[in-house]
Amino acid sequence: MEVEKQVLFAGFGGQGVLSMGQFLTYAAMGAGKQVAWVPSYGAEMRGGTANCLVTISNEEISSPLTENPEMAVILNKPSLDKFEDKIKPNGTLVVNSSMVDRSPVREDLNVLEMPVNEIAEQLNNPRGANMILLGAYLEKTAVVRVEDALKHFELIFKGKKEAVIKKNKEAFLAGIEYARREW
């Protein structure tokens, strides 16, 4: 991995965008990286746009903000509209195709699409959508190795019930599976 990577997570408020970013941040810290997570909110508590930027680096992080992230994980169409052009040239775009009904326009991007909501339904884990996507994303991009992320599951979900941790782990593993098969 290069010295520093910045990953944007974007969707609408209530979709779990911010916690997805936090999961990645915890996992990367556990893997010994320098990390920073910065949220940005719309005014409404529900339904407004929400996004967060995760910075992962081998060195001390200077700016935790950027105009152009290397990667973006997009959970709704307005976010794709807003951020597609901002991704660095030849960057990676991860899209939940269940929620985004158009394809990216740029031709240089490495696009990874997944109908996350459908897969979550199939797995009888409708709330596991975000973890499925995270599993697939990490398996494919190795921003943090999935082994490292799994090692830190208990730490990341500290305080939550056993059953919740188990369900999230299942979803994460299912995502890894999907990436191996499809991407």
């Binding site: 005014a43 409404e44 508590m45 529900r46």
Partner: protein, 246 residues
């Protein structure tokens, strides 16, 4: 074709931003219907608070002014005294009116300012993410009463309708709720009466409305309405507390 139901003139076409299940929507409509039915939209001046209804100036179709947190009664005082023919209403939440604005509201009522205060009491701070309000109930868990409100520590919830009805300057004080259709109808009657008493120049008027906050109470909208019935109304009884016409 006969129109049997439409948006009141006194509401704009802007879409409300409130959370699903929030009763601000109902109460905005009640106020607007009263302004329409009394034909005072063009005389009305509304002062909005800092709280979830901070953007109320986008929703009411009359002259509107933003107020600093809690200061609406002071602002309304000046405007009504300078423009006595106007119809002044403030729209305030429990932090705005009963916490930071406690000084302003008590004095506006004591001075008998000829304004109508719509006081939205949902026992919590909505906009800032669920902190305790002066009207938070004993035992209620909020982000700044994480162990439940205790009388030894956080004291008792304040009852504004009762408090302000003690002032001789108060001409009409009513506590309403909008958790069921019957209460909605009574609330509208009270708001109309308050505006009429303001027009007669009898003094300070207020309708306190028990409202919901499903998001920060952590409940579904339907459970929130039930919580008003089961928990709020027993502590905050509904009805008329002062009526200068009676």
């Amino acid at each position: 074709m006969k129109v049997v139901f439409k948006k009141p003139e006194s509401l704009t076409d802007a879409q409300f931003h409130y959370c699903p299940g929030c009763t601000h929507g109902i109460i905005h409509r009640i106020v607007a219907e009263c302004l329409d039915e009394l034909d005072i939209r063009e005389k009305a001046i509304g002062i909005c608070p800092v709280g979830c209804s901070v953007l109320a100036y986008d929703y009411f179709n009359c002259d509107m002014l933003e107020a600093a947190h809690g200061r609406a009664p002071a602002i309304a005082t000046a405007i009504k005294r300078l423009l006595p023919d106007s119809c002044l209403f403030t729209y305030q939440g429990d932090g705005d009116l009963a916490s930071i604005g406690m000084g302003e509201i008590v004095h506006a009522s004591a001075r008998g300012e000829k304004i109508t205060v719509i006081f939205i009491n949902n026992a919590i701070y909505g906009m800032t993410g669920g902190q305790m309000a002066p009207t938070t109930l004993l035992g209620q868990v909020t982000t700044t009463s994480p162990y439940g409100r205790k009388k030894e520590n956080e004291g008792y919830p304040v009852k504004m309708a009762e408090l302000l009805s003690n002032n001789q300057g108060s001409a009409y004080i009513y506590r309403a709720a909008v958790n069921n259709p019957a209460n909605v109808i009574k609330c509208k009657k009270a708001v109309k009466k308050a505006l009429q008493i303001q027009a007669r120049g009898l003094g300070f008027t207020m309708v306190e409305v028990l409202s919901t906050c499903p998001t920060n109470w952590g409940m579904s909208p339907i459970d929130a309405l039930k919580w008003v019935e089961d928990e709020m109304i027993p502590y905050y009884p509904l009805g008329e507390f002062k009526n200068a016409e009676a």
